[in-house]
Symmetry: C2
Subunit: 426 residues, 2 copies
């Protein structure tokens, strides 16, 4: 394998996570050990920034900033949701592709790493194919990232372990709070977590239960399963009868038995005539209050859940870093057109050795990985021991982070831009 000498470009895409920067740190750290990688650049705001030739000079960053990336949430390079869509607009997609390769050539990019979810792996795949077609020697490796945990072929997705560690801790704490106020009147609390089509995050809060049937969460509704709302209400009532309170966790995309998203009732309009999306938790709250006459509070962790660096999983962060390292090593060994995946090696005595492997990018795009139906109780209201065995190792360990004046001290990049060599995008 001939050594490929040139520059490296790494970019981040899609929704940030608590550990997406750990993968970035992995790429940068490993790249620093290899002389054939000359300059290390970061794409500002993913593909969008690359199209605009907005490149960040990583070599200009302090070493302690790179180290600090391992414990800083958010996407340090910036991200985007920009998609190169040959189906929707083939001319624009072709123009974008031409422009990307202009930028790659202008800056002698020979190693390209894109950290992201499903769409981003698809983008990487297209760039890899295009490089081959054009005879432009560049190695393209995708680095997995998504709190949704819905990428296929990988054991888990970096970002997922941290979001469920935080969400499970929050549900445990909310449970102690609601439980301590529970008197004979009964009360209900509904926690809405992210997950439009896959219920991995909602399911992950099961870990707060610690196999104590009386402990919250008492019910977890997943988007994969269709729920009869009468059955849901009956289960809430049964739980309140038993424990005086009920803590329910719902994925935002949870559906009723007609397959409709519960939170997406568009029959109500706001003052400006726009449909109001109440959210699943709010809609179920309305039902519980109206039908069971039970006081109900909701909470919606929103972006806080995927950015909670202050209680991120060390296992998750280490796996995220390892994916970045493995991407660089794979590219250096001549590979291209793969995504790094996480592999779980369970040892005879039960501990886990984590490693990485490669999967062709073509196997990843447009395949969504859901919570298996047999990992959930028959009534659909709680994940079972199979899920717990899978998820428990992912939240092991706590990230250490520096604290200043009582708050986490997170790093941001100086973000010095690389001098542009091209005319602005037309």
């Amino acid at each position: 394998m001939a050594e490929l000498v040139g520059n490296l470009l790494v970019a981040q895409s899609g929704g940030p996570t608590a550990v997406i920067n750990s993968s970035l740190a992995g790429v940068i750290t490993e790249a620093g050990h290899h002389e054939c990688i000359e300059e290390i650049y970061g794409g500002a705001n993913g593909i969008l920034g690359i199209l605009n030739e907005e490149l960040i000079d990583i070599n200009d960053e302090k070493q302690k900033t790179i180290e600090g990336l391992r414990s800083s949430p958010g996407a340090a390079l910036g991200t985007c949701r920009y998609k190169i869509d040959f189906n929707k607009n083939p001319e624009k997609a072709a123009r974008d592709m031409d422009r990307l390769f202009e930028v790659f050539q202008a800056h002698n990019i020979r190693y390209f790493f894109y950290v992201g979810g499903n769409d981003s792996q698809d983008t990487s795949h297209k760039i890899h194919d295009e490089a081959v077609k054009r005879g432009y020697e560049m190695r393209v490796i995708g680095v997995p990232k998504t709190i949704d945990n819905d990428l296929p072929h990988t054991d888990s997705c970096p970002g997922y372990g941290s979001v469920i560690k935080y969400a499970a801790a929050s549900v445990m704490e909310v449970g102690l709070d609601v439980g301590s106020m529970a008197t004979d009147d009964g009360s209900c609390c509904i926690v809405e977590v992210m997950g439009r089509s896959a219920g991995w995050i909602a399911a992950g809060t099961m870990l707060a239960k610690r196999s104590n049937p009386a402990a919250p969460p008492h019910m977890i509704l997943l988007p994969e399963i269709q729920y009869n709302m009468d059955a849901v209400l009956a289960k809430v009532q049964e739980t309140i009868n038993a424990y005086k309170y009920c803590v329910m966790v719902v994925g935002e995309g949870v559906r009723n038995d007609k397959g409709e998203e519960i939170g997406a009732d568009t029959s109500r309009l706001d003052a400006f005539g726009h449909p109001v999306l109440a959210g699943a938790a709010e809609k179920i709250k309305e039902l519980v209050q109206a039908r069971l006459k039970t006081k109900t509070r909701t909470l919606m962790l929103g972006y806080a859940q995927r950015a909670a660096g202050h209680f991120a999983s060390l296992t998750d962060s280490a796996n995220a870093f390892a994916c970045g390292v493995a991407a660089v090593r794979a590219a250096l060994s001549g590979q291209s057109g793969f995504m790094v995946k996480i592999v779980r090696n369970t040892q005879p005595e039960g501990s886990i050795l984590w490693s990485t492997d490669l999967q062709p990018l073509g196997d990843i795009a447009n395949v969504e990985h859901f919570v298996p139906r047999d990992w959930v109780s028959e009534d659909g209201f709680l994940p079972n021991e199979k899920f717990v065995a899978y998820a428990s190792p992912l939240i092991e360990g706590e990230i250490k982070f520096p604290v200043e004046a009582g708050l986490p001290k997170y790093v941001v990049l100086d973000g010095v831009k690389v001098e542009k060599k091209l005319a602005p995008r037309g």
Copy 2:
């Protein structure tokens, strides 16, 4: 001062906090050092449990459980929102008072400590007055607790430092997340925190800014100030023009310039004809999306903010514990009818020595302490350096807590009940 020999009863009231159990641990620990205190009982679910003679035998709890209370959120004894209201229903209130003293006498309660907010201090005050009136020798001391920080005369309320430490960290993290997705389209994120009439919690998220004008939060709306919504929208737009994104924090009770609660629009009805309370963040989101055409996400930390033991303030926890200790010492020294308050002693070199003192309970009830207007910028959109100087010391230090399988290991009481001596309440 003659030594008063008898039993101690401690109870918790109102909404739990991350450190209300630390005050409980303070009472129990200090009480254990004094022989004239014979038995230590806890009231289950506050006054409500005492009325039902539901007493928990604290001496039956393991020492490590008592120690664990110092880092466990929720109210370990259970709480209630029950009020003895002589104005609303004097006969029932008189019956309740008779019953309370039956219970106190039956169990030889000579020391009574009630951990709670404004209403609970009022209850303690009435019990103290009643004991004096009846010639029943019992020492009553109130222990402050409320995330709302709205009790007068005390420097701060145990529970407040922890809620703003967690909320500020969350806003900082959400800011990194939203900021990293900010492209030219602009985006807005609105975080709703607790605080119906006092804006202390919303204001506390100012600490996330660390005096960097570009850093989130960019706007904080307090219930104490009436806001012109056109001015709010103009400020959002100005922020997005400057930084491409805007993170806004709102207290749940924030009001418009007619003095109406923004989140309490009752013009919409749900499927069952009940008014829908959208919440302040959702209402402002609707406005931003409709008028500024800016994509906006909300999050609502709900109970998670006041139960976040995994990122509680060590200063807050220590002050909460000290209040419990001070309550017992005050009672032993013959005092009754006081609330413990926290006193800040700023040292010449700037560090703070925290201590406690006593304030007559009559000074506390029905007085709400608000964020002073001159602690907020003239336009009302951000607290100023006076607020920051006040709030910063309250979030110093992090509680250490045991972790098991990646999640906090919180304690719950065994809760063995004391044998009842009375007939059930009529």
